[in-house]
């Protein structure tokens, strides 16, 4: 039966990156290289107070003492950190635009291509507020007024540093300290911008908060810093989407996301990541080294959902520290590697409080010459009585040149804990494809259908708008030219 083989052939050969173009905007870019001067330059550019500059410098000095990690199962040529430019802002920065009309029309056009026309979304009945990040500076923030009424702060992190220093001081680095790991420390020194959310006590955020990240200028690193604080009994759902234009040079991306869920709060964080994955020979593409972590106080809940289809290299472990009693951590992930993509992704669930519960559902799909690894830690500390964890890792291989790997780490230190881990590896069966063909579906549609079914448990966790986009992305990522 040649059909399956043909499909696989198609899958592993070329595909176009749908979002590959670049916008020609004059950017104000720092010269390549990193030293204390650059750190001060970035801090100065953002009119940051002295304590922030000091914090960055402490991080930078610590970074100098650190080694780049080698344990992830990914391969890439050594990065010359002195060749990266650590700051890039659209030139118009200075006075941030107050309304959409003031935003450079070229930017708006870019977003329109991405399918998030701001102007339209504004009209769209206030479902989604977008704090759009173009390269490093937040250019437009919508729905701020409406959120303000509820006391919710949703702004760029630079603004928060200026306007709400007491909150930022208290929580920045409280979940991911500046000494945490190589990339997080680098981020702490040079982070350019990102989002800040604060939801006050007992407030349920009425809309999904959303940010679109996009790397644009050539050879610039993108270092966002996101901090979300949900005060007691509040709820917020945050969406993050990423696409980046086509580049030849590898681009470095080292973001940090910190979530703080205070007593009884709930944070739902969803990501669709579609950075440029490089061509089928592994040339170009984004290096995505991200540290995401949340801390749960008593009765709090943090839920991570991610759909990772892009990037040449993904190194990402959204984690939950279940510090408070009865807190809950969840991780739902779909990771797709095709072409020469490599992903080493998973989660860490650290159970500290009593009766804490965590659930991990991970679906890895490998095609082409992609290498897909799940790496996760479930740690149950001594005090975490009656804790529960359930982990399920499923891998799917398409073609025989790819790899699917599972590296779970289970560390249990008390006997009332119950930890379960299961993993399976399968391929798309010829009989499944045949069944679909029989019913008039093309090979490509069949693959898309089967893969979407395989990922259903995770996709169901995404908010509606994202779920549709994610399903499309899965199709695009796997079907190459089919689109």
């Amino acid at each position: 039966m040649p059909t399956t083989a043909e499909t696989i052939e198609q899958l592993s050969t070329g595909r176009d990156y749908k979002y590959g173009w670049s916008t020609d905007i004059e950017a104000e870019t720092a010269p390549p290289g990193l030293d204390e001067g650059i750190v001060r330059f970035i801090s100065g550019k953002k009119n940051e107070p002295e304590w922030m500059t000091e914090w960055r410098l402490k991080a930078y000095r610590h970074w100098l003492t650190m080694q780049e990690p080698v344990w992830p199962k990914v391969d890439y040529p050594p990065i010359d950190y002195q060749k990266v430019s650590y700051y890039s802002a659209p030139k118009k920065a200075g006075e941030g635009p107050r309304s959409l009309d003031e935003v450079d029309p070229k930017l708006l056009e870019t977003y329109e291509k991405l399918g998030i026309p701001l102007s339209e979304q504004k009209i769209l009945a206030g479902v989604v507020a977008v704090d759009a990040v173009f390269d490093s500076v937040s250019v437009a923030t919508t729905f701020k007024g409406k959120l303000n009424e509820l006391g919710i702060i949703f702004c760029s992190i630079s603004e928060a540093i200026r306007e709400h220093p007491e909150l930022v001081k208290k929580y920045l680095g409280s979940v991911v300290p500046y000494t945490d790991n190589y990339f997080a420390t680098l981020n702490s020194a040079v982070f350019s911008d990102g989002s800040f959310v604060y939801v006050p006590k007992g407030v349920r955020c009425p809309m999904e908060l959303s940010t679109y990240f996009r790397i644009n200028a050539e050879n610039t690193g993108q270092f966002e810093r996101t901090l979300i604080v949900a005060d007691e009994g509040s709820y917020v759902s945050y969406l993050e989407g990423c696409t980046a234009p086509m580049r030849d040079e590898n681009q470095l991306h080292a973001a940090v996301v910190e979530l703080v869920a205070l007593k009884g709060a709930e944070i739902k964080y969803s990501t669709v990541q579609n950075w440029y994955p490089g061509d089928e020979n592994g040339k170009g593409g984004i290096y995505n080294f991200v540290t995401k972590r949340g801390i749960c106080e008593e009765d709090a809940k943090i839920s991570w959902t991610q759909v990772e289809t892009g990037s040449a290299i993904t190194w990402k472990y959204p984690s939950c520290i279940l510090k408070g009693d009865n807190s809950i951590g969840e991780f739902y992930s779909v990771a797709v590697t095709n072409g020469a993509q490599q992903a080493d992704t998973g989660t860490k669930m650290v159970h500290i409080g009593k009766n804490t519960t965590s659930t991990i559902i991970s679906k890895g799909i490998s095609a082409g010459r992609g290498q897909n690894s799940y790496r996760g830690l479930v740690q149950v500390n001594k005090r975490a009585k009656n804790s529960r964890n359930y982990t399920q890792c499923d891998s799917m291989l398409i073609g025989n040149k790819c790899g699917a790997h599972t590296f779970p780490y289970i560390d249990v230190r008390n006997n009332s804990a119950q930890v379960e881990h299961e993993a399976t590896t399968t391929k798309i069966g010829e009989d499944q494809i045949f069944y679909c063909n029989q019913r008039g579906l093309s090979e490509e549609d069949a693959v898309s259908l089967i893969v979407n079914g395989f990922c259903k448990e995770v996709l169901a966790e995404l908010p509606m708008e994202f779920a549709v986009e994610a399903q499309k992305l899965l199709g695009i990522s796997l079907e190459g030219s089919v689109g």
Binding site: Y409, V412, N414, S416, K427
Partner: protein, 437 residues
């Protein structure tokens, strides 16, 4: 030996002293030992910075000054009787402090062409057999304790089963440590070669006559010819103050099947490395383990199963019962080569924590490069099911007994797979005694 000597120097010193006794060694063997020492000097003792040793500290081993085990002839048949399986009437080989003890052993009526003896004797009687195999399956570049064994091994078991030969009676091997107060070091080295279509069963037991501190560092290399079948039982009942390191290197050709069962009761720090290279179509491998720990015992089971050819099932089931402050590590890796289609691999680690102070680290891992495979792994950890306990108690069984029944049932998954009645009963008895004390 001065106390200021670094651990590595101690072994170089030991090596030099032993070399004087080994002047009759053939040249290739001296070279082999020398290379082992050089590697060990380079590697030293593993530290917890290494991923492979992350959860096991060998500091107590490195900090102990061991002296070479002197041959001891004072061990009587009555001393070892409790550790022998009396029901097994086949060949029996006893090693005392690492050296073959002729008087306690009984090797007669072997099928023609079969070799069963101790390594030292075989080196002189059939040097080529040993030189062609010794160290051929080990990768000492990254294996600290294998390198040490290469440099220092004293003796061990050599088994060659010729093609088509079936050995009916299980072969019993007993490694006895009868140490004085000073910590001693033994490095058993075993070679098992199974010819095409041959079949044999080996029961290997490690015991101690005292509760002293000592180090056993065993390395076993196994070749499975086409269609060969072998069952290997390794029962470890060392002193609970002792260090036990054991490495198994397995190579399988097509249609062969090697079944290994490791049961660990003893040792203060125990590390078992099992490596299998499944290099023939349709061969099969089974590696099972049961560990029952108490006090501050620590065990680290590392398992690496490499599927090279097509259509190979492999099964690994490791079950542990941890009491008191004991701790266990399980790290398994199933590695599937791109050509190893139709692989059917299953890896499971289940652990019962009896105490709140016990600790478990489990890392069942898969590394897969072929698409038409069925690979699953699973890990569970928990306490005795309170519902099951309640059920038994509601039938008027006291709590202690009910608990023991459930632990037995948990372990039965492994013990029931033991196909030699005498061995199974022996292990069940040891388990029962352990639970009652």
């Amino acid at each position: 030996m001065t106390t200021t000597m670094s651990p590595i120097d101690q072994y170089s010193d030991l090596f030099t002293r032993l070399a004087e006794q080994r002047t009759s060694d053939p040249k290739w063997l001296s070279g082999f030992r020398q290379a082992g020492l050089a590697t060990f000097q380079k590697l030293g003792f593993p530290t917890q910075d290494l991923e492979e040793w992350r959860f096991t500290s060998v500091r107590p081993v490195a900090e102990t000054a061991f002296s070479p085990a002197e041959p001891r002839h004072s061990v009587q048949a009555s001393d070892i009787e409790p550790f022998l399986h009396a029901e097994l009437t086949g060949p029996r080989l006893v090693f005392v402090n690492g050296r073959f003890d002729d008087g306690l052993s009984n090797v007669t009526d072997l099928p023609s062409g079969m070799t069963l003896g101790n390594l030292r004797t075989v080196i002189s009687s059939d040097e080529r057999f040993v030189s062609e195999r010794l160290g051929k399956l080990t990768n000492n570049e990254s294996a600290h304790f294998t390198a040490l064994n290469n440099a220092l091994f004293e003796d061990g078991l050599v088994l060659f089963v010729p093609s088509g030969t079936k050995v009916d009676q299980p072969i019993q091997v007993l490694f006895v440590t009868a140490s004085e107060a000073d910590p001693i070091l033994t490095n058993p080295r075993n070679i098992f070669v199974f010819g095409a279509g041959s079949e044999a069963h080996i029961v290997e037991t490690h015991v101690s006559l005292s509760e002293n501190v000592y180090l056993t560092n065993a390395v076993t290399e196994v070749w499975m010819g086409e269609r060969a079948r072998a069952d290997h039982y390794r029962i470890q009942r060392e002193s609970e103050s002792a260090f036990h390191f054991s490495t198994l290197r397995l190579y399988e050709e097509s249609n062969s099947h090697f079944r290994s069962h490791n049961v660990d009761f003893g040792g203060a720090i125990v590390r078992n490395d099992s490596w299998g290279k499944l290099d023939g179509d349709n061969c099969e491998a089974t590696i099972n383990g049961l560990y029952v720990l108490r006090g501050r015992q620590h065990i680290d089971n590392h398992m690496w199963m490499e599927h090279v050819k097509e259509n190979i099932p492999s099964h690994e089931l490791y079950k542990g019962v941890l009491d008191d402050h004991s701790s266990a590590v399980f790290a398994g890796r199933i590695y599937v080569h791109p050509e190893a289609q139709k692989t059917d691999a299953k890896q499971t680690n289940q652990t019962l924590l009896l105490s709140d102070d016990a600790r478990l680290n489990s890392m069942p891992q898969l590394e897969i490069y072929a698409d038409d495979v069925k690979c699953t792994h699973g890990a569970t950890v928990g306490q005795i099911d309170p519902v099951a306990l309640f059920y038994l108690m509601s039938r008027a069984i006291d709590k202690e007994t009910a608990r023991n029944v459930l632990i037995h049932a948990f372990a039965a998954d492994i013990t029931e797979r033991i196909r030699i009645d005498a061995v199974r009963k022996n292990i069940e008895r040891t388990l029962r005694d352990r639970l009652l004390t």
